[in-house]
């Protein structure tokens, strides 16, 4: 069988991902992404630190002011919590569908919907993680030009926990990218006459 030079490797990659082993790989990756996104959501949502400062001294009694740092003071962190929550719900639903939805009739829409939803969730978690990353950098270093003081020297634990949530969210982003790539490959492989041929390449 004479194969053209460009056609052999995509077909081989496509056929690897039709074996049942790929199902467990995808499921394992989804579980990891769900755990990472859920960890990021929970750690950031429960992130709170209260500190009392002495602002003045009247006579012998010091005036104390109690300040709290919570995640919902910053809109970027609120978006971070919502985005990671949605991504973990999406992965949970996909895991459930894969394990328990054996006889469900998708009417041919399964592979396109999964691929599109995975791409949407990659964009969502990427937006949330990046906005929170830059806000965290602002809180850590301040901005001398705008006269915004850094807050991490006063609220160290809040900053540390926020950093941990950010790391978990970036891990979830990496896993979601892999999952999205695999879903697109499955979609390409599943269509009966997928045309990876040279003369269909031009847009």
């Amino acid at each position: 069988m004479a194969l053209q030079s460009g056609e052999k490797s995509p077909m081989l990659i496509g056929s690897i991902w039709s074996k049942p082993r790929s199902r467990w790989t995808l499921l394992g990756l989804r579980l990891l992404a769900f755990l990472a996104a859920a960890a990021a959501t929970l750690v950031m949502a429960l992130n709170k630190q209260t500190k009392t400062f002495v602002v003045a001294t009247i006579g012998t009694t010091p005036l104390k002011l109690s300040l709290t740092a919570k995640f919902n003071h910053t809109p970027a962190f609120v978006f971070f919590v919502i985005a990671n929550g949605l991504v973990s719900i999406h992965n949970l639903v996909m895991i459930m569908l894969d394990l328990l939805g054996g006889n469900f009739d998708y009417k041919g829409f399964r592979f396109p919907m999964v691929a599109i939803l995975d791409m949407l969730n990659v964009a969502l978690v990427s937006g949330g993680a990046n906005a929170a990353a830059f806000m965290a950098e602002l809180g850590k270093n301040g901005n001398s030009h705008a006269r915004w003081d850094k807050i991490c020297d006063k609220f160290g634990e809040y900053c540390d926990r926020g950093g941990g949530a950010l790391i978990a969210s970036f891990l979830a982003l990496a896993f979601m990218l892999l999952i999205s790539f695999i879903s697109i490959l499955k979609l390409v492989n599943a269509s009966p006459h997928h045309s990876i041929s040279p003369n269909n390449n031009q847009p």
Binding site: A146, I184, L187, I196, N201
Partner: protein, 163 residues
């Protein structure tokens, strides 16, 4: 039919290139010097790392878009374009989201952290940054459409073409 598709795609790519280029230029040229209480303040885009990231990402994407306008239509490289479109759309998403977060703090401040809004003092700078963000959002939508279209054309997954 193929001819109109090609012209339409070329126009879309040209518009995407124009919007990313203008977003980078408008953000990079936003600069204002005012004096508040006998102190001279200068606001530039490079004061904030999020805005620098925005400019760099839009510059990279506009160079990519410019090179893509000259790609001949029948090469095998269009499959690589699918992957590159995916990566660059993700980069655009992240840069817009980061710049929006910082611009929001600049406009509304954050009273819990003691950060005052700066838009009242440097109004022209703020308006220019807002304009750059709007143009960047439009370029994100265009690149999303281009990415979906290049998946559909190069990989034909939804069986919408009868071959």
């Amino acid at each position: 039919m193929a001819e109109t598709k090609r012209i339409f795609t070329f126009l879309l790519r040209f518009m995407a290139f124009c919007t990313t280029l203008s977003a980078a230029i408008v953000m990079a040229s936003s600069r204002e010097r005012t004096s508040v209480l006998a102190l001279s303040i200068e606001a530039k885009y490079s004061d904030s790392p999020a805005f620098k990231y925005f400019v760099i990402v839009n510059a990279i994407v506009s160079i990519y878009g410019f090179l893509l306008l000259f790609l001949p239509s029948k090469t095998q490289l269009w499959r690589l374009v699918v992957a590159l479109d995916a990566v660059l759309t993700m980069l655009l998403t992240s840069s817009i989201s980061a710049a929006l977060a910082i611009a929001y703090v600049g406009k509304e401040g954050n009273p819990n952290a003691g950060w005052l809004p700066i838009c009242d003092q440097v109004r022209k700078y703020c308006n220019q940054v807002t304009g750059a963000l709007i143009v960047g959002f439009i370029s994100l939508i265009l690149y999303l459409l281009l990415f979906l279209y290049s998946i559909h054309t190069a990989l034909n997954p939804l069986l919408l073409e009868k071959s």
